[in-house]
Amino acid sequence: MKPHRLELDYVAPPHRSPWAGVAVLALALGVAASVTVHYGSVRRELTAAEAARGLLGEARPARAIPRERLEDERRQVEAIVRQLTLPWAQMIETIEGASTGEVAVLQMQPEAEQRRLRLTGEAKNREAMLKYVRRLDEAKTLSEVHLVSHQVQLDDPSRPVQFALQASFRGAQ
């Protein structure tokens, strides 16, 4: 066993083991190193964030968009606007008003581009079909109502007439 130090000093306080101080120093250095590393890391992140913010903040040069694409987009927007500006309510009201128990509407297909309406229906007989066409033609919202085709359904015992007609919206540009 190693002998203890002799502590017989008449002025100085007893010598204390330096290990406690060394341990505290080592701990302090460790903490300082950790803080330094963390500081460096945070600083790098801050620099990166500032750089990113600088990139975002600057007015970026406008990318050249092909004219064809612009035209396509413009056409799409116009088509949507035309679809939205069709007088749907009046159109449906007109078709409902012209309907009778002898005619059934099978399909209604507006063509916003040409501001036309294609309509497919089935009538009990030919006279009912023609009356229906006339009634539509008399409506205020439709004009130029033409019968495009008609055909008697021979396989049906009641022999209905299936027909297709075309009309223009009144006030079409």
Binding site: M1, K2, P3, H4, R5, L6, E7, L8, D9, Y10, V11, A12, P14
Partner: protein, 299 residues
């Protein structure tokens, strides 16, 4: 290099150059003083990691100047301290074993408080030295549990006189007053083998002999007499071995004596003597170090 950077560096160099002397004075200056009946040896050191002797002095004293053997040494110390009053330094005083009494205080497990332990040490001195020990200043060292403790005692007047040489508001500040045994043992305790050894300090007209076994102090005697050669050392050890230790005591002896550096190891009377010597120090050759042996122990 940019002008601002160059200017900043120049300013920093100027500041360091201006502060260096002040820092040196504040941090690195140490004064080691050894007080013995016949001389006062002084070393002034500079440098912290590699101290260097920048001043060395020996003042001869009159050992019979007063009633106590330390009167002459303290007079010389007072003169030296007056010269040092404008020197910023930390002063350590090493006391010759002529001025110190030692005792081994048996372990007293029931005494918990430091005051009780010190009172027990005082009692031990009173048993040996009688009533006069009541005025002595006593210090008690630490020891492993169950082991005897080393105690030292000096005259109260000696400590008061030393402290008076270095007033608290002076530039030379007294930081330590320690017995030679403490300085030497702490300097070389790593040289004590685990199996144990005798530890012998030799001064003119004085020897201090201790036995350390398994890290414990088992014998300690501070003796006045002639101890100038190996035969006298061997006789002292033979006598002490019979008194304190017996046949099982180690035969190796660590010796610190004036001119120890001349002989590293030798054998006499069945004892193996190993000299304790200092590592070289800047500004002081081995030949010149003999008068400063005591002071150097506290470096």
């Amino acid at each position: 290099m940019s002008p601002s950077f160059s200017a900043a560096r120049k300013m920093r160099e100027n500041i360091v150059r201006a502060l260096s002397p002040a820092l040196k004075r504040r941090v690195a200056n140490r004064v080691l003083v050894a007080l013995a009946p016949t001389d006062v040896a002084l070393l002034r050191l500079e440098g912290t990691l590699r101290p260097r002797v920048v001043e060395k002095r020996v003042l001869v004293c009159d050992p019979v100047e007063g009633a106590e053997p330390w009167r002459g040494a303290v007079s010389s110390l007072s003169a030296v301290a007056a010269e040092l009053k404008n020197t910023r330094a930390r002063v350590t005083v090493v006391l010759s074993n002529h001025f110190v009494r030692y005792a081994l205080v048996p372990a007293a497990e029931r005494l918990d408080r430091p005051e009780e332990q010190l009172a027990f040490a005082q009692y031990q001195f009173a048993r040996i030295h009688g009533e006069r020990s009541k005025s002595w200043k006593i210090r008690l060292s630490t020891a492993p549990a169950g082991a005897a403790r080393v105690a030292s005692a000096i005259d109260s007047g000696l400590l008061e006189k030393i402290e008076a040489c270095f007033p608290p508001d002076g530039k030379a500040r007294l930081v330590s007053v320690q017995p030679y045994l403490m300085s030497a043992f702490n300097c070389w305790r790593d040289a004590v083998p685990a199996s144990g050894a005798w530890f012998l300090l030799v001064e003119p007209q004085r020897s201090c002999l201790a036995l350390i076994e398994d890290g414990r102090w088992t014998a300690l005697r501070n003796t006045r007499g002639e101890f100038d050669d190996l035969e006298q050392w061997a006789e002292l050890l033979d006598r002490e071995r019979h008194l304190a230790a017996g046949a099982q005591a180690p035969r190796n002896v660590l010796v610190h004596a004036r001119d120890s550096w001349k002989v590293a190891a030798t054998e006499a009377g069945g004892w193996n003597f190993s000299s304790l010597a200092f590592a070289p120090m800047g500004g002081l050759t081995a030949e010149d170090s003999a008068p400063f042996d005591l002071a150097l122990c506290a470096r």
